[in-house]
Assembly symmetry: C2
Homo-oligomer: 201 residues x 2
DNA sequence: GAGAAAACTGCGGGCCACGCATCTTTGCGT
DNA sequence: ACGCAAAGATGCGTGGCCCGCAGTTTTCTC
């Protein structure tokens, strides 16, 4: 497909991004679907042609990121050990992008605060988790292809995918609460998982 | 508090159970909050005093089950290795209860089919995942107490809890899709996880 | 350039979630 | 046993979300 599908993706991304920006600034319940649609220049009705709910629009970026991890995993060199590939891909995925580093300090703190408030909304938490769960399917297939296991019948690739998402969730939760870097948290989490999560001492 | 709180829990449980029964029978969108409230003998307004949404009411039983796992984990003998305790508790939790085995075959199949349709509803998937995530906190604390790690500052117990929930999700998904027993799936999943999820061969 | 397919839009309705005010029940102290 | 204060249950009203439907506009294909 060509220009048509491209426009659609652009609109979808714009809607998701607009939703996030507005909600981070104003708060979830103080942003109406109408506002988001207006920001992008579409009718409110069209918003619901793209997303089944306000929450889904917000979580779309997260879903997209997770699904890209699956692609990135397939792109790793064939000989590389699985967990090295996984670590590389996850670290790459959560490397702070230009939309973060480009802003000056005060902006970034306000953003972090707003983001934190946003992710405290139950409906959003639920939708973020669902996005992760949906991406698990693609992740599992990628892992399956890499390890010669069938994601449909074998639980191994499913477990690996589920564990990746779980590690990511734990890492981001601790990242927002504490002062560690996302990289540190992810590396440590993956390390412990590949060791089989033995009790300390 | 005594009798008062007890009545509340009873009503809450009754509402959740009624929601599940009706939705399994009729489908999510064909059951109104009004119906659930009527089934229990409460006003529709009261329903929303107990649950913030229809989906939350449905997922409540799941949340309760997951939280009980944390309690059960604390109740295991002190000397038992952590992962043995976890396996024991999870197997016990997902042992088919009397509400399943008491029904004759045709009923049980209809129930399974209805349950499958119910869990296909996006809003419900999201809420189930959120319930699991909420229980992770209690689980992590229980693991922390058992291993002498602080769930607030150390990611180890959090990772264990998150992994437990992930294993459970993968197991139940495969249980509903295939013909394996929940026990088999859980044992296999926990085995692979404690081995560090090494790629096969 | 014309027809077909697909997307956007406006309208309308059903339902849900919740704030508020009121009434009823429960627990407790005397 | 009685009554008071706290907490729960209820009714009403409102704002907002989500979606079906039908009509219009845009885009793809030939």
């Amino acid at each position: 497909m060509g220009l048509r599908e491209e426009k659609k993706q652009a609109t979808r991304t714009a809607l998701s991004w607009a939703a996030i920006r507005l909600i981070v600034a104003r708060g979830y319940e103080k942003v109406l679907v109408e506002d988001i649609a207006a920001e992008v220049g579409v009718s409110p009705r069209t918003f619901n042609n793209y997303f089944g709910s306000k929450a889904e629009a917000v979580a779309f970026r997260h879903l997209d990121r997770c699904e890209r991890m699956a692609e990135a995993l397939r792109a790793r060199p064939a000989g590389e050990p699985l967990w090295e590939s996984i670590e590389h891909v996850m670290l790459e995925t959560f490397k702070p992008g230009p939309e973060v580093t480009a802003h000056p300090r005060p902006d970034r703190e306000a953003w972090a605060a707003g983001l934190h408030r946003m992710l405290a909304v139950p409906a959003l938490q639920a939708e973020y988790l669902r996005a992760g769960a949906m991406a698990e399917a693609a992740l599992a297939e990628a892992v399956g292809d890499r390890t010669g296991t069938d994601a449909a019948t074998n639980i191994y690739p499913q477990l690996v995918a589920a564990t990746m998402v779980a590690a990511q969730n734990v890492a981001s939760r601790n990242f927002m609460a504490g002062s560690d870097t996302m990289r540190t948290l992810l590396v440590e989490a993956l390390h412990q998982i590949t060791k089989g999560l033995p009790p300390p001492a």
